[in-house]
Chain length 205, copies 2
């Protein structure tokens, strides 16, 4: 794409170019971090921002499980695959992003205009599927939120989720992604991988 | 939460407050739209922004299927549930957000440093699951992108996805969300529904 076309397209957005860069164009998944800590207050600010993004029937099943104690970190490391173990060992903050399969318990408060909402999710398998789907949407928002905090995220699916659930989480939480969070080290990323062209991803009927 | 705490937490973010509002705090899922059109160029600008957000192994399975012709719109409306039908009938732009189960075909180009990537997805069921998971992450990014374009999104899961797939999509695409896109009408939204408190969603181990 020519520079001309790219600048025209940037102008079609209401979001300012520096914010576009912060969240998408210059943001990268980090593989290594500096020692600078990430605080629970920063995670709270991220949650306080991204909680407003939409989920189906306002179900909000995402749970952000911060792995702060040495004991929890060691338990988690056992279940990380290959090179993800080293990344997770050295990251200043690690979160297990999980789906709460008991999300329906809060619907009388979070979807109050439809009193039958909770009963729609009586079936365990369908409820877990809804929990995983909506939590995954929220993981997308959360990754954007980490970047909005000026931090780098290193999201990973390469881990033994059954082992993580058994060793670290209560039975109603199902791990989906483990994300390292911090300030990127100098050698934090590989080269940017190619993205699909517009005409490969956008189809008109 | 007190005003004081809220302003402190906003200051913990690198993203400017007006951008926080545009993408999250003031953005809402719209139920009605003005007649102002949404162009394919605007959708291209959204895609050109959100394509950079991460997916597992750079799989990028999301396909944005724009429902532009009258014939396609009529076919889609038949499969929308209840009040979603009226919203979709009147929206200036409607997109079916779908997962491409043939995403692995592009991995030799999009994940070139690992020649075995495509073969990891030989199993049809596992590949469809990976397609749906990563496309759902990308749907989260896309909704943020619609808002970055100064537009309102109305994402919906209330439709017959099997019918949509059969009537509108090629066999390798699986519909996940239908999203209406436009400028919000005066009566575009209901009251903001409650979000979970920090201590309900963020857990420390």
């Amino acid at each position: 794409m020519s520079m001309f076309v790219e600048s025209v397209m940037t102008d079609l957005l209401a979001l300012q170019p520096d914010a576009q860069d912060l969240l998408f164009r210059e943001a990268r998944s980090a593989n290594a971090f500096t020692d600078e800590p990430v605080t629970e207050e920063q995670v709270a600010a991220i949650y306080d921002l991204v909680k407003f993004a939409p989920t189906a029937m306002n179900t909000q099943p995402l749970r952000v499980v911060l792995v702060r104690s040495d004991d929890a970190r060691q338990k988690l490391l056992k279940h990380m695959s290959g090179s993800n173990r080293d990344k997770t060992e050295s990251a200043p903050m690690v979160a297990i992003l999980a789906a709460d399969t008991d999300f329906h318990e809060t619907l009388p408060r979070t979807f109050p205009h439809f009193p039958g909402a909770k009963d729609l999710f009586a079936d365990d398998a369908a409820r877990e599927q809804a929990a995983r789907f909506n939590a995954t949407l929220q993981i997308g928002y959360f990754i954007v939120g980490v970047r909005a905090a000026g931090l780098a995220a290193g999201p990973m699916t390469g881990f033994d989720s059954v082992g993580v659930d058994a060793d670290l989480l209560p039975p109603h939480l199902k791990s989906i992604v483990v994300v390292n969070i911090g300030h990127p080290a100098e050698n934090a990323w590989f080269d940017r991988l190619p993205r699909l062209d517009h005409d490969e991803a956008v189809i008109t009927l």
